[in-house]
């Protein structure tokens, strides 16, 4: 199905360009708005070229403290969100790679029971178990803490299953060769399994980082203090129902700042990410 006639290519390119425009234009427009003053934004039509208030707006948002979110700067929100996304991604990977390791390579009583228990949690996303989880967090006094923000989101059936599938493709002879070579369970994990899994880990890291970054419902419940909230929640809080109250130029800045880190993660890890999805290194 690979055609090479010029008209087909032209049409394909036009469709792709339109697609890119549809996706990219709003982001560009947001960026443009983030460089205008509030007055300029409030008086349409908005210019299609960036304005002259770039530094002013960005430093105001980042370090000035934004009134509508209790005077906390966006830098603090960014920090919170980075911590949360990193903790969720790293925590999920650590927990799931260890549990997959146990399930695939060890024979212990109740092994299949544990596997199915993990599998069943796939049917219980955060939203379903949100009230009991919230109650537990309140009882443990974890409201407005990083622990409370990240811990309930760490257990991950998806990542466990993914690692399990990958581990099952590792030939039994490799495990036995390691045993003959005198590698105990820990050595085998550290010297053989981890290096072989690194592309999978990279791919999962990207996916999970973005998952953590875009969390909305859970941080909304778990945080009361303005300085513990995440950027997505902060963004929501900055928008007032009354248009006049909303500092739109700062909202636009926050939008751009919220988009940049996930893009950075994807771009920087793209090579690993793609390899992890398409190729198994064997």
């Amino acid at each position: 199905m690979i055609q090479n006639n010029p008209i087909g290519r032209l049409i394909a390119h036009i469709i792709l360009i339109i697609g890119i425009l549809i996706v990219a234009f709003p982001i560009y427009y947001t960026f443009v708005a983030s460089t205008q003053s509030l007055q300029e934004i409030m008086h349409p039509p908005l210019s299609l070229l960036p304005g002259s208030h770039f530094w002013e707006n960005y430093s105001a948002a980042l370090f000035g403290g934004v009134g509508r979110i209790g005077g906390v700067g966006v830098d603090r929100l960014l920090l919170n969100t980075v911590i949360m996304a990193l903790a969720i991604a790293v925590g999920k990977i650590v927990i799931s790679i260890l549990s997959a390791y146990a399930i695939v390579f060890f024979r212990f009583p109740g092994r299949m029971v544990f596997f199915w228990l993990i599998f069943i949690t796939l049917m219980l996303p955060v939203e379903v178990r949100i009230l009991p989880t919230y109650k537990v967090m309140v009882d443990l006094g974890l409201i407005d803490t990083y622990t409370g923000l990240t811990l309930p989101l760490m257990a991950s059936a998806t990542a466990t299953l993914l690692f399990r599938q990958f581990f099952m493709t590792i030939p039994g002879e490799l495990v036995e060769a390691a045993r003959v070579d005198g590698a105990g369970p820990w050595r085998f994990f550290k010297d053989i399994l981890l290096p072989l899994s690194k592309t999978n880990i990279a791919a999962l890291f990207v996916i999970l980082f973005i998952y953590g970054w875009t969390q909305y419902l859970w941080p909304l419940l778990m945080t009361n203090r303005n300085d513990m909230t995440t950027i997505v929640i902060g963004l929501r809080k900055m928008i007032s129902f009354a248009d006049a109250d909303t500092e739109w130029h700062l909202v636009m800045v926050t939008c751009i700042l919220a988009i940049v880190p996930p893009i950075l993660v994807v771009v920087l890890m793209q090579r690993w990410f793609v390899r992890g999805l398409v190729e198994t290194e064997k």
Partner: protein, 360 residues
Amino acid sequence: MASVELTNVRKVYGTSVEAVKGVDIAIEDGALCVLVGPSGCGKSTLLRMIAGLESITDGTVKIGNSVVNNLGPAERDIAMVFQNYALYPHMKVYDNMAYGLRNRGMPKDQIDKRVKDAAQILELTHLLERRPKELSGGQRQRVAMGRAIVRSPKVFLFDEPLSNLDAKLRGQMRVEIKNLQRQLGVTSVYVTHDQLEAMTLADTLVVMNAGSVEQIGAPLDIYEKPASTFVASFIGAPPMNLVHVTADSTGLVLKDGTRIGAEGLAVPAAGAVIGFRPEDLEVAAGSETHIGGLLLELKVLGVEPVGAESYVYGIVGGERVVVRVAGRSISETGDNLRVIIPKEKLHLFGADGKRIPPAG
């Protein structure tokens, strides 16, 4: 270096599946013992029990003077070469060979010396910095051997190490393995299903079938005096021809009722199986009076000329036989071919498949 001794070794999976049924094998220090048999005969299981990768249900495995039943694979001082080489894909050749030594806590300079020495022997020196992915099948095989050599173990274990190579390379590696084993003088156990590999490599050949040892001996002894019809049909290519006969008052009768001429054969009343190698016969001229063995007339089903010789496939008494004749075959499909097998070349097996030694 050490001898290996298996005493009544059994392996039972679950409660009832008996994969290895009481095997006794003694391998001398420095000998190469080949376990051969069809797939599922328990030869690999036996090897893995020697390696410590499989638990031993019953019996004892001795390496040197110590029983190793309860030792882990790393403590048995063995090295194993796997069928798929089982190289660590993310490590360079050097690290693949050094890994086991590092796990033992050997000093770095010593590891380096051993790896370099092994690489020298196997002509791998220029490949030490490569990864397994960048090697050919034969080179990977060498690395797997190198990984075994650097450990200078008491016993080498080979689990069908050549079955992933193409025919030409296999022949080459076979010779290399043999030479290497001689050179190092390490007791080795080698598992294969290829009887040619088994014949050429073995000091001691162990033919296994359905979890039991059928015969142990030097390869040529086994070839010349197979202990059972199974061994007879397994060792040798093409395999030994087996023809079922019964005796009545006037002579020998084949399965389909054909009478055949025979001299000097004592066939028990219960019937027997006569075996003969495809090469151990002469094409009959026509009107012999004194046969001096067995005279068979076979209907030719097909002829395979392979150059220096031809294989003639035929049917006699309802059973298929194959005959090897030098050069081009004079027979063609549909012909009748009369062959004489001299008495001393005949093998006689009882109805139970066990060899009946010739009288006198």
